[in-house]
Amino acid sequence: MNDIPQKTAREEWDAYVREERTRAEPILRAHGYALDDDQPHTLGERYLMQAVTTASGRKLILLGHRTSDGTRVVIKVTRDRGGVQELQFERTARAMLKKIRFAYDVFHTPAELLFVQESGLCIAVYEYIAQERSFLERPVEEQFALALTSFKAQERAHATTASHLREIRRVYESFDGARYLATFAGFIESVRTSAPPRPELTALLTRALETLTRDREVIEQYCGFLTHTDFVPHNIRVVGETLYLLDFSSLRFGNKYEGWARFINFMVLYNPPLAEALITYVAQNRTPEETVALHLLRLYRLGEICRYYVHAEAKSEGDVRTLNGARVTFWSAVLESVLNKQPLAPSVREEYIKLRDSLRSEDEKKRQVGLH
């Protein structure tokens, strides 16, 4: 059992936020930027978050403005080695996207206004993209069209030849069938050795690995495509018909359905009709192998999210711990339904949402406003 109490982790995070802000403020001021007093992205459960599959370091995402004209900005601040690497990778990944054969027009990028490394801090300042309404506040038809457009844009970047592969390997991470399987086996081992013991989840994940292994060739068949492994509403902004991608650190070359899988799994919780619409679209318009690939990658991503919350549960206490336990139970139920190719009972989702909303702190509720 992880013995880091929630209070300590939370207090440690608060101290980290205070210290980073104190270090960053004079640098930002010297470059003509100021931080807002209210920083929603440091609140709630933010302290527990960390990326699971992409190299991610500790960093702060802050809101501020340009002092000369009040232009709203987003500021990323880090002095953690992994965090600096992530910010540098994001820069390179953005630049590389413009070079490779890719419908770059589909994904617009918030302008980078400042990138500095001073006094041990790495600071990136980006234009803030205001949107009239969040992704999930839009009609489901519009959500579907936006999602489909962006998935198609990603698919257009397909690295197949030796020269393509050489070029992308210099910048992006690349996953093939063997790496997906090995990573999934790591999820199982991680869950198996975590506390509290979860033999049912371990058995479920083992069944999923058997399915992935059996259809390994289908996973490999659709590899080599650009995919955004965290393509979910909080990483995009929509202004009119223009889609802005906010997170470039989760781009990699892998199975073309990995991004679809993450998005669809997310929508099982947030908008089930949209999840169904995307699955139906693939079934009606793509090859049977692609439907299999989507199913496999959904299993992969569900294994990942289960493992994520098993870890988050171990790191937390009190209501947050209860909530993370409920998350493990919910995502395990989703995994089981996908594995059995059965629909998830609506009551499972409804009961989870009810419990989640009752357990979320006020800070977390504030952080969630307009997030998706």
Binding site: A162, E217, N285
Partner: protein, 180 residues
């Protein structure tokens, strides 16, 4: 008839002519013996179609040589060599067709490759040589398959037009194949 389709792209590649070639192979299979020679890694399957796949991950020179070898072996007993445009296929197809004296039908299914051939001397020369060798060169392609979108009406008319465009294309192709 024994037909060999030489193509630079085949699904899971998504750009044209990959989807076209896959549909063409599927539609020709009931009445012909079809072999597809394509660059790729793990291609999608079509029931009844034989595949010769040249791994794209090899270096350019090596993979073109491998393509020539694969195409040669596939075409030796073929009645028709159906060639999709693109320099990586045009040169091998020209060589194999001339030496084996296999009748060639040339399809300009990749508009972007054709456009580049208009602008670049070498590519243009190769394309013109293949066209000169071909029994017939066709630029027309059937309509792309309309998508069935969950929140939109079923595209019955568009699907009917798609089917009709393929019928017309196959009718034309049958005449081209039968032409002596």
């Amino acid at each position: 008839m024994k037909i060999v389709i030489a193509t630079p792209l085949f699904p899971p590649d998504i750009e044209e002519p990959a989807p076209y070639v896959k549909t063409l192979a599927a539609k020709l299979t009931p009445t012909h013996s079809v072999t597809v020679v394509a660059y790729g890694h793990l291609h999608e399957r079509v029931e009844g179609v034989r595949f010769v796949t040249i791994d794209k991950r090899a270096g350019r020179g090596l993979r073109v040589l491998q393509y020539v070898r694969g195409l040669w072996a596939a075409t030796r007993a073929a009645d028709i060599l159906y060639v999709e445009n693109g320099p990586s296929v045009e040169l091998p197809a020209l060589l194999v067709s001339v030496i084996l004296r296999t009748p060639l039908i040339f399809h300009l299914g990749d508009a972007r490759a054709h456009e580049r051939a208009q602008k670049e001397l070498f590519r243009g020369l190769v394309e013109r040589m293949v066209s000169a060798r071909a029994r017939v060169t066709r630029a027309e392609s059937p309509l792309p398959r309309p998508e069935i979108l969950p929140f939109e009406p079923y595209p019955a008319a568009a699907l009917a037009a798609y089917t009709a465009s393929w019928d017309k294309h196959l009718e034309q192709l049958t005449q081209d194949i039968a032409h002596e």
